[in-house]
Amino acid sequence: MQIDLRTVTIKPLRHTFDNIARRIGADKPASRYQEGTLDMQQTANFHYRPTWDPEHDIYDASRTAIKMADWYAFKDPRQFYYGAYTLARAKQQDTAEANFDFVENRGLAATLPESVRDTVLQLLLPLRHVAWGSNMNNASVCAYSYGTGFSQPHIYQAMDQLGIAQYLTRVGLLLGDVESLDEAKRAWMEDDTWQGLRRYVEDSFVIKDPVELFVAQNVALDGLLYPLVYETIIDDVLSSKGGTAVAMLTQFMTDWFAETRKWVDATVKIAAAESAENKEVMAGWLSQWRDRSAAALLPVARIALGDRTDEVMAEVVQQFNARMAKAGVAI
């Protein structure tokens, strides 16, 4: 027997909001990403100028040297609005939790060769502070950039980086203890190995142009650091020395970088494709910050790579250049 469920069908007066219809070309049903992103930021008739920055409006596209006819040209290929974002992270969180449990319950931390364990503590733990710096920088881009299409992913990125700093802390507590964290902070503050990177991060704190800050942090620094540390050192070098457990503990970072670079690349591409002027500005920032971050990461990489450092770093830089060329900026 077949039962037909009858529902009342009412013809809607319209399918979405006017601003969305104006942008997607017709009164079509819109996605939640579109309705939660497009034109969310106010654009007109601001009442007062910021007392803390009277040169600018509350939201002001002139805070950056990048010029866009429409800032909503920036789209997040992940289509992250808050709901999609938290659901994605909660899922990764489940995996990460299972990985930590696996390593902990089987006592895998204790089976790590001592050299691997020491390398991990020396290399990974000071990176907590780099992630914390990224949290600040991404908050800054979110606060002072223009248009929700561009600003929105930065609050997610800010909180992701806080999450990463906290994962690194857990790795530290699992493989070491609170003293390991203190020792890593001391190294971060005092050891020569880390001063180039610390200077890079502190210098990035005073970058006023939000798009340049996006480049310095999310494109250049992360663009070298993640492939170098998580993909090369941990997944290849340390794993071959019996450190697979570490790769499990940092899977979040590996997956996270693979995902976020799609957004980063799309953002670079859209900014550069807008005009020859933008492309030139982007290329200038990219090469300047790439060179600085490669130099800052070199002594850090040496902790794990020893003699092979220069060669690996050159490879990572080359991959980065190829990635940027694909995004439309030859550097």
């Binding site: 529902t7 009342v8 009412i10 809607p12 007066l13 319209r14 979405t16 909001f17 006017d18 601003n19 939640r32 309705e35 939660g36 034109d39 969310m40 930021q41 106010q42 654009t43 007109a44 008739n45 601001f46 009442h47 007062y48 100028r49 910021p50 509350i58 808050y82 709901g83 938290t86 659901l87 992270r89 909660a90 939790e97 204790a110 907590r128 502070h129 992630a131 914390w132 600040m136 908050a139 979110c142 606060a143 929700t148 600003s151 929105q152 609050i155 800010a158 992701d160 806080l162 906290q166 802390t169 857990r170 507590l173 203890d177 971060w188 503050m189 200077r199 502190e202 210098d203 005073v206």
Partner: protein, 517 residues
């Protein structure tokens, strides 16, 4: 195999400390004042950021987990509501006008809060408050988006909210909530925290959310009720942050007390003025009422707020002075506001109406001192006129208060028969105010408030017509041009509820859903 020595488990507080506070360091390659440029100019003195008590000790893993669960539930309910034409279960289509107010007046403010907390979070050198602010920034974009998503379905069937972003930046009365948040985000980071984190989120939020959310529930609007409840658990966190901010600032230095007191006075008054919209929603716009504005004020401000200020007395903070005037206005606020919107219903993005006999009886019972004496006769007259085909729409523009931007519709404290006007001469210009409190706020920061984008002035200066409009052509209709600039569709989005498409469609659709036709 060696026996593994069990590691000492960290307590919650210690664990949170290494997960958050331990991440921070004192920079040396750049100066603190260059990294945190907005921290000194308000005059607030902080000696020890570590004294900040983290109210929640939430780490990101826990945050994602809980929030994702809430999102899953929320969107499941929104989807079910939409699929089942849940909007037809509301009491009557007049109710939908509260949703219009909400999406054009409140949801855009959630977005500003998102950006504002990102700014404050970046500005504070202390890791505790930074993380708390950034989590709130993330929550606030959640609120803006879940509201848009929940209300999107109403927009498909009802008028007035189809271009709410555009309207928020332009429509005259939406300048009131917009200017409130513009004021907050253009203030320094500490004042932002006191204005939004404390005054709004802590002291006044119940007056906004309880009527809206329980109003939604009372009137059968599951969609709005659900996002309201879902936001409420975030709000609890935000309220705690708001209170923590105040205590922290006050405990740091006695010199902070007078600065904070001024902010509390200012933001309580500005927040209360914005809540005028809520007052009329409660007393007039909910077909099924939850409680009167006056009752809500008594419970949430006079009782709860009173207890809070008693607590804060040990720091030297006193009840905002404006509370006295508000107590005198509570018998009149909603009636005066509704009368004004009834007048200006041609230029608003929602419908108005005169209360029916039952509703008038309810209003008399809730406002025995004022309703029958001052407002019922006015309404009866307007109703008679409307019945004769003379529904009155005011086409002249009112004078606005320079600070709160509300038309000068309020009466003298203690004399409901006399409009209250105040004025100030500043650098050769005259500025007008609705009250002593708005005048005082202006006088403290005149350079800020002279910038106000006052809709009426802007209309008269010709700045609120669509581009390319020539106001000198014969037969030019300024109101029609202004409505075009608002993208308000005359005859659909505005005017009286009785003649509205909303009313007609709702009756027809409900008929389809409940009758055999």
């Amino acid at each position: 195999m060696d026996m593994q020595v069990a590691k000492k488990k960290l307590g919650l507080k210690e664990r949170y400390a290494v997960m958050t506070r331990g991440l921070d360091w004192t920079p040396s390659y750049q100066k603190m004042e260059d990294i945190y440029p907005y921290i000194a100019y308000e005059g607030i003195k902080i000696h020890d950021w570590d004294k900040w008590e983290d109210p929640f000790r939430l780490t990101m893993d826990a945050y994602w987990k809980y929030q994702a669960e809430k999102e899953r539930k929320l969107y499941a309910i929104i989807d079910a509501f939409n699929q089942n034409n849940g909007h037809l279960n509301v009491t009557d289509a007049r109710y939908v006008n509260t949703v219009k107010l909400f999406i054009s007046g409140i949801s855009p403010l959630e977005y500003v809060a998102h950006r504002g907390f990102a700014h404050a979070g970046r500005a504070f050198p202390g890791p505790g408050p930074r993380v708390a602010c950034l989590m709130q920034s993330l929550d606030e974009i959640r609120h803006a988006q879940t509201q848009v998503h929940a209300i999107s379905n109403y927009n498909k069937y009802y008028n007035g909210m189809h271009d709410f972003h555009h309207m928020h930046d332009r429509v005259w009365f939406l300048s009131v909530p917009k200017s409130f948040f513009d004021d907050a985000i253009t203030a320094g980071p500490f004042e932002f925290m006191v204005s939004i984190g404390f005054s709004f989120e802590y002291v006044l939020t119940n007056l906004l959310f309880v009527p809206f959310v329980s109003g939604a529930a009372y009137n059968g609007d599951m969609g709005t009720m659900t996002f309201g409840f879902s936001a409420q658990s975030d709000e609890a966190r935000h309220m705690t942050l708001g209170l923590e901010v105040i205590k922290f600032i006050l405990e740091q230095d006695p010199a902070n007390v007078p600065i904070v007191q001024r902010w509390i006075d200012k933001w309580t008054w500005r927040g209360y003025r914005v809540l005028t919209l809520v007052a009329m929603m409660m007393d007039y716009m909910l077909p099924k009422r939850t409680m009167s504005w006056k009752e809500a004020w008594e419970v949430y401000f006079e009782e709860n707020g009173g207890a809070l200020f008693k607590d804060l007395a040990r720091y030297g903070i006193t009840m905002p002075k404006c509370a006295e005037q508000i107590a005198l206005e509570k018998d009149h606020l909603s009636h005066q506001a509704w009368s004004t919107f009834y007048n200006y219903a041609a230029a608003a993005n929602f419908h108005t109406w005169m209360p029916d006999e039952d509703e008038m009886a309810w209003l008399s019972s809730k406002y025995p001192e004022s309703f029958d004496k001052h407002y019922r006769p006015r309404y009866e007259f307007w109703r008679e006129q409307a019945a004769k085909g003379n529904r009155f729409y005011n086409k002249t523009l009112p004078m606005l208060c320079q600070t709160c931007q509300i038309p000068m519709l309020f009466t003298e404290p203690g004399d409901p028969t006399k409009i209250c006007y105040r004025e100030v001469d500043y650098k050769g210009d005259k500025y007008h105010f609705c009250s002593d409190h708005c005048k005082e706020i202006f006088e403290h920061e005149p350079e800020k408030y002279v910038q106000a984008w006052l809709p009426v002035h802007q209309i008269y200066q010709g700045n609120c017509f669509p581009e390319g409009t020539d106001p000198t052509v014969e037969g030019f209709d300024p109101l029609a041009a202004v409505l075009k600039y608002y993208n308000l569709e005359h005859g659909r989005d505005n005017l009286d509820f009785d003649i509205s498409e909303d009313k007609k469609n709702f009756a027809e659709w409900r008929g389809q859903a409940t009758k055999n036709i």
